[in-house]
């Protein structure tokens, strides 16, 4: 099915199932521990051996020798895979560093060997017996130091690396009120709960890999390419994924090394990355340095906005650029942006929840708060008057929907924004300083091709198969809701099978494109199935109504299952999107409101209230969508208050590479969270009229926390995370 014009009325609009906040259909499995994750396939895989990954001890240089003598002599050891014995390997399209290092080392904890033994305990012990010598060479590990070497990458996601509209320099210089500030955001880790893990089993030249991967097709293609085997010989199975956030978008070392080992010993092998290896071995969100300049007139209209962003990546591969956030968001006739990318030798950076928009929102929404203060204007009001319904760089292109102002207005009302003290550090409850903060939130809602197969059987069961993944997002449930709505059956009559490369290729989970695109693919397949059913039962496909397990038209009713009485009906289709996404800007919007208490002596920060108001098209399932948003709010709170990969700029690695030292929020950090979804459908987005929310939810949260801390304390911190050491100097005198 091609989606090229605005969606008209369709069966989804009935919202008998879609739009309902039903419980997740995978809930009973997940809460009883019976959902099977990558490392847990005992049934289909017998006689499995265990792999243990060794990570490089240096960040840059080469291996001068590997001595496997002791390791091979250790009890239970079956093989040791290294670059020396792995044979020629290709490199995945989406990989930057090679997944099996040696002799050249590109980053710290790059995998250099997989020790395989009869048991996990034996593999882990033998790994310590592999003797490796390295020669270290100097590297560039400090973004601040490398900033001046950063280059123009030419293109960034969404356009040119440099943009200019009007005359920014003059307009900024002439603006009666100016802000010119530098902000930094740190390297961050996905830190999903399930480590990257894989089980590999070969049958002849065909490989089955049970793994934990957000993008089945990417993983399959890149694994085949790296192994130099045809893609059709690779099957990936990943029905449950213990969190991803972008960290499992790609083929990683666990998958490749496990496949190599299983081939080498002719026996299934399984491997999970040790937690302490994950942060330096896999990808992370890159740190940024951002300069933001805003010029405004005395009425609060932005007349000039400039945003420059520096980041670094291994081999100068790809930038993390906050300018993507500011360019389309707030009005202003004179604008500039610039993105610069340094080549540095830290582990490779890549997407983490709302790449670029997250660090962009962390800074831009603080700059807006600072500018509002300069103007003596309420920060909600300042955002409202700088709203735009068209792209500031491209006024002929409008947003398909943009309810940012409604988000701000409703949020302010619900949160009791009028209780915010306009003067910072003036509201106190005992030893606690209280502050309120606001931020806008924005994230595009891309659409991508997605296919699905649907089957109707003689019992009236509808089975959906697609290689779409559920990384906690609720894909199983919204896909079931879509099929139930389309086929007019109760949710219990739908079975959803995901995460298997033998199913039609879907959009996968990333970039908040998954929910809208994958359900649209299911919609397309269901339209075909409806047609076949109607034909079989003698109805007009356009006129027939599918509901309550029946098909009816003009008073004639037949049970749906009758259509499959003499054999299952199977249909498959793909949703393909035309150029609506180019003609209009498909985006999602939010406002975030946060109340913090800051200890007046120690500067400990406690978040007391959080509210998000979101406008994100049709909400397919308010319960799971809300969860996406509260989860994003939690991660945004972490980014504001604690999350930072500490770089050892001498040895070139992230020092705090475990969950005790890379702190993410715990229960005690997070209050009750409120989420409101504005009533919205977007016929330009898809037949589902839906959008993404999983990444929208994180954009703006950290800035709202930062702004609340400022309101509480009067201390403006422009370097995330806002840990108490950065506040202490500006806090009121201790008694």
């Amino acid at each position: 099915m091609k989606f090229e014009t605005a969606a008209g009325e369709n069966p989804i609009d009935r919202q008998q199932v879609v739009g309902k906040g039903v419980d997740r259909i995978d809930g009973p499995l997940k809460t009883t521990g019976t959902a099977t994750y990558a490392y847990e396939w005992h049934e289909p895989v017998a006689n499995v051996a265990y792999g243990h990954v060794i990570g490089s001890a240096i960040a840059k240089g080469r291996i001068t020798s590997i001595d496997l003598t002791l390791a091979r002599r250790a009890p239970g050891v079956l093989t040791v895979v290294t670059a020396d014995n792995a044979g020629p390997l290709g490199k995945g399209e989406r990989n930057n560093a090679t997944l099996l290092g040696g002799p050249d080392i590109e980053h710290y904890h790059q995998a250099v060997a997989l020790v395989v033994a009869e048991s996990f305990e034996q593999a882990r012990a033998a790994a310590e017996l592999v003797r490796i010598t390295y020669e270290r060479v100097p590297g560039s590990f400090d973004l601040a130091a490398a900033k001046d070497t950063a280059k123009n990458p030419g293109k960034i996601t969404g356009g040119e690396a440099d943009t200019a509209v009007g005359d920014f320099a003059s307009a900024f210089a002439d603006a009666p009120l100016q802000l010119d500030a530098i902000y930094t955001t740190p390297d961050q880790s996905h830190a999903m709960m399930e480590p990257h893990a894989s089980i590999a089993a070969w049958e002849g030249n065909r490989l089955t890999l049970w793994t934990s991967n957000q993008m089945i097709e990417w993983g399959k293609q890149d694994l085949a390419k790296t192994l130099n085997i045809p893609a059709e010989n690779v099957r990936l199975i990943s029905p449950y994924i213990g969190g991803g956030f972008g960290g499992k978008l790609f083929l990683r070392a666990d998958a490749l090394l496990t496949a190599l080992a299983a081939r080498a010993i002719g026996r299934p092998v399984k491997t999970a990355l040790p937690r302490a290896l994950m942060i330096n071995n896999t990808t992370h969100r890159a740190a940024t340095i951002q300069r933001i300049r805003i010029g405004a007139d005395r009425d609060g209209k932005i007349v000039a906005i400039g945003h420059e962003n520096w980041s670094g990546d291994l081999n100068g591969d790809s930038p993390e650029s906050g300018v993507r956030y500011s360019r389309p968001l707030y009005a202003g006739a004179n604008r500039m942006s610039a993105t610069r990318l340094a080549s540095i030798d830290l582990p490779e950076a890549n997407a983490m929840r709302a790449p670029s928009d997250m660090p962009g929102s962390m800074t831009v929404e603080v700059a807006m708060d600072e500018m509002a203060e300069k103007l003596g204007m309420d920060p909600v009001e300042f955002r409202i008057i700088n709203d735009t319904q068209v792209l500031p760089e491209q006024p002929e292109r409008s947003y398909s929907q943009r309810q940012l102002n409604e988000c701000l207005i409703q949020g302010a009302q619900r949160f009791g924004w009028n209780r915010r003290a306009a003067t910072p550090a003036t509201r106190r409850e005992g030893v606690w300083l209280i502050g309120l903060g606001v931020a806008g939130g924005f994230r595009d809602s891309p659409v991508t091709t997605s296919a699905a197969r649907v089957r109707l059987d003689g019992n009236g069961m509808v089975t959906v198969e697609t290689d779409m993944t559920d990384i906690g997002t609720g894909s199983y449930t919204i896909i079931a809701q879509t099929a139930a709505e389309m086929m007019g059956v109760p949710l219990e009559q739908v079975e959803v099978r995901l995460g298997d490369s033998s199913f039609p290729v879907s959009t996968g989970s990333g970039g908040q494109w998954g929910a809208n695109s994958s359900t649209s693919g299911v919609y397309a397949a269901c339209v075909k199935l409806r047609r076949s059913v109607a034909q079989k039962l003698g109805f007009d496909a356009q006129q027939a109504v599918f509901e309550n397990g029946e098909v009816h038209q003009s008073g004639r009713r037949i049970a749906l299952r009758e259509a499959a009485a003499d054999g299952d009906i199977v249909e498959e289709d793909t949703i393909e999107f035309g150029d609506l996404d180019d003609r209009y800007k498909l985006s999602t919007f939010a406002s975030h409101f946060v109340e913090v208490a800051v200890h007046s002596a120690t500067a400990e920060v406690r978040i007391r209230r959080m509210l998000a108001v979101c406008a994100a098209g049709r909400i397919l399932n308010p319960k799971t969508a809300r969860s996406q948003v509260i989860g994003a709010m939690t991660m945004g709170a972490g980014a504001a208050l604690m999350e930072e990969l500490a770089v050892d700029t001498r040895y070139g690695f992230f020092v705090n590479h475990d969950l005790a030292t890379y702190e993410v929020p715990v229960h005690a950090d997070i209050p009750h969270q409120e989420v409101v979804f504005l009533d919205e459908t977007d016929p330009l987005s898809s037949p589902m009229k839906a959008k993404g929310v999983g990444e929208l939810g994180i954009c703006g949260v950290s800035a709202a926390v930062a702004n609340a801390i400022y309101n509480a304390t009067g201390v403006r911190v422009r370097d995330y995370p806002i840990t108490l050491d950065k506040l202490l100097g500006g806090m009121p005198q201790a008694v």
């Binding site: 001890a57 302490a276 001498r650 005690a668």
Partner: protein
């Protein structure tokens, strides 16, 4: 984790004797720190002596009005003991500020005292660390040291002792009771139990080979307001940036010990004389010889401000 042999000991003397007899032996109680370190081969015992059967899990009154806490009393049970809550509130508070509910259920009193540092360079076996591998250098000194020690440090080591419980015990003047392989027992004041790093940061306590902790005793209660204020980057389940254990009497005198600042619970008795003069005077004395790094200099201010908050709280 290297392979090891395993036995369950029946009595403390038997356990100590077995440790003396068996090369490379370690006692294991809760195991929450030892096993973590064994997985990384920072610890590589040849033989584990499981002491959980030693029946050292009682909290008993002592003749002089104090408490004798068995070495195997779990952190949860110790924190929840009615006498501890009533008379040694700072100890309850410190225990409850540490780790998580799950870990406190497993962690023992003796094991908590013997926790090893959480310095990331100690934990990363690719990095130099004089504590893990004497003579290899200190990765932290010029590296990432935000969490690490500011006082009592040496050129060899700036690790901190991670325990909260031990900080409260230091303020309470606890005594560590042990038994040696020959059956001899001794009592070690907690002030002498933990060591400063000096040139030998790998030697962390006063224990001799094979010596087993059997109990920790607390002197009779001294009254006062008991406060444990732990400052950390998240609200729970994190090690301290700085912690203050304080017992403040109605007349403004009292005791103060610090966590998160040194290789051992940090207490300077002479500084306590200045408690009536306020937090600044006390913390200046407490941290008189501080040698912070660029990363952890803030702890000096934080100690003073936390102490100020604690004293204000004590005043009510």
């Amino acid at each position: 984790m290297k392979s090891f042999t395993y036995e369950r000991a029946e009595t403390p003397v038997e356990a100590a004797a077995s440790a003396a007899r068996s090369p490379g032996a370690r006692f294991i109680a809760g195991g929450t720190n030892l096993l973590d370190l064994m997985k990384l081969e920072i610890e590589t015992p040849m033989h584990l002596i499981d002491v959980n059967g030693l029946k050292l899990d009682k909290i008993e009154a002592t003749p002089d009005g104090g408490l004798r806490i068995g070495a195997l009393v779990s952190n949860t049970d110790l924190a929840a003991d009615a006498r501890v809550r009533q008379d040694y509130g700072v100890l309850s508070r410190a225990l409850l500020a540490g780790a998580s509910g799950q870990l406190r259920n497993k962690a023992s009193t003796a094991g908590n005292l013997l926790q090893r540092t959480r310095c990331p360079y100690f934990y990363d076996t690719n990095q130099p660390c004089n504590k893990r591998m004497p003579g290899s250098g200190c990765g932290a000194l010029e590296g990432f040291s935000r969490q690490l020690a500011v006082v009592g440090v040496s050129d060899a080591c700036i690790a901190t002792h991670p325990s909260d419980m031990a900080v409260a015990m230091r303020a309470l003047d606890a005594t560590v009771e042990t038994v040696r392989p020959d059956g001899e027992t001794r009592r070690i004041p907690i002030a002498d139990f933990h060591r400063l790093p000096g040139d030998t940061p790998h030697i962390e306590s006063a224990l001799m080979p094979g010596e087993l902790i059997t109990a920790v005793t607390l002197p009779k209660p001294i009254g006062g307001t008991h406060i444990y204020h732990k400052v950390r980057d998240r609200a729970s389940y994190a090690f301290a940036l700085v912690s203050v254990a304080a017992i403040v009497q109605p007349d403004g005198t009292g005791r103060v010990a610090l966590g998160g600042v040194a290789h051992k619970p940090w207490r300077v008795e002479s500084a306590e004389a200045q408690l009536p003069d306020g937090a600044r005077a006390v913390s200046e004395r407490l941290l008189a010889d501080a040698r912070p790094t660029h990363h952890n200099e803030f702890k000096l201010t934080l100690v003073q401000r936390t102490l100020a908050a604690v004293l204000a709280q004590a005043r009510g």
